[in-house]
């Protein structure tokens, strides 16, 4: 069966999450470079079609814990950030997020409206 608009909207939401994750995972990050990386990630993905807003929060405390003290930086992983995204596809609003659950980063659809 052809996808419904809400199904296509959820597909688009997934594309944005996979894009954000695999474009930026591995980026060198330190406590004083989290702000520029958060902004660049959000603005980059907001360029993609149907993407209303993206909020990336890289946790400075988790970055500090992940850092090898000799090196002074670490590489971005899902465990270091929380992400929220809002998609608007043909009037269907999809809210998605990535958060740590039981020690692992989980991407999920929070709500689909209407």
């Amino acid at each position: 069966m052809d996808p419904t608009d809400p199904q296509a909207a959820c597909f688009e939401a997934g594309v944005k999450f996979g894009s954000l994750y695999h474009q930026f995972a591995g980026t060198p990050v330190a406590p004083d470079s989290t702000a520029s990386l958060e902004q660049a990630m959000a603005e980059a993905i907001e360029n993609q079609p149907f993407c209303e807003s993206v909020t990336v929060t890289i946790d400075e405390g988790r970055v500090r814990e992940a850092i090898d003290h000799d090196e002074g930086y670490t590489e971005l992983t899902g465990a270091l950030m929380d992400v929220e995204m809002h998609i608007d596809y043909e009037g269907v609003l999809v809210h998605t997020e990535m958060r740590m659950v039981d020690g692992y980063p989980r991407m999920r659809v929070v709500s689909v409206e209407p």
Copy 2:
């Protein structure tokens, strides 16, 4: 509203597409390295949850056209490949593909069953 299983299945399908694209776009590729890259891309993404099968076809003719003759290689983009993917999420089967449409690579949901 919480997502239905078919909506969550489409989200998962989108995550795989965004992952495949942004993990591997930019990889140096030449006509005689398309086969190993196709296989590695498919096997990498098939590791992800709910992902039944992935088929990547990098078009050697398009790779040849994209190559600068001095260099002998180009970088992988969506314009050089076709991708098919099958997702099985809680019994919902989603078939997705990326193909060139009007000169641009388009990712879309082909069908959702049942």
Copy 3:
């Protein structure tokens, strides 16, 4: 033979260039998101060892030309940016850059001092 300090410094400079290029190539970019991406790229790579400074200039005019008018964005490639980098390895200063030469982005060592 073991590398000399200037040779090791040039190796480190190359690592930073390869990292910057392959981490960020493929990022969705539009004229109004070039500034945040430039800053994030520079600050990310400056985290790496021996990296004194990085300057990334994404050319808005070239971004506009690369954009498909239907989509409103393109993906970052070497053709859209100029990069300068200064490495300090054990007192050896290496200056490197990436610029368009004859239509292709070229990475090169500008100078090694002393």
Copy 4:
């Protein structure tokens, strides 16, 4: 001062290492997909100029240890692989490697000849 040929050769070697690392770090990998990923990484980077040979060895034992048993896969990092590379730039041969040293992956120039 302009770089010497051995310095330029070391720069090229570094570019290949940074490229390999940041192109492929983050790729989903499991014990039965290490072989295809090793081959694709080697063949991709061998496409780049002056790159004679690349050998990538992803350690299945380290992949198993890194895997979350619920997921069945992990993401490629420097800690999971050893890499050897040989560069030939204008007759200068550079041998480089990445290996675990004191718990961290270290990239280094092994030798420069002549």
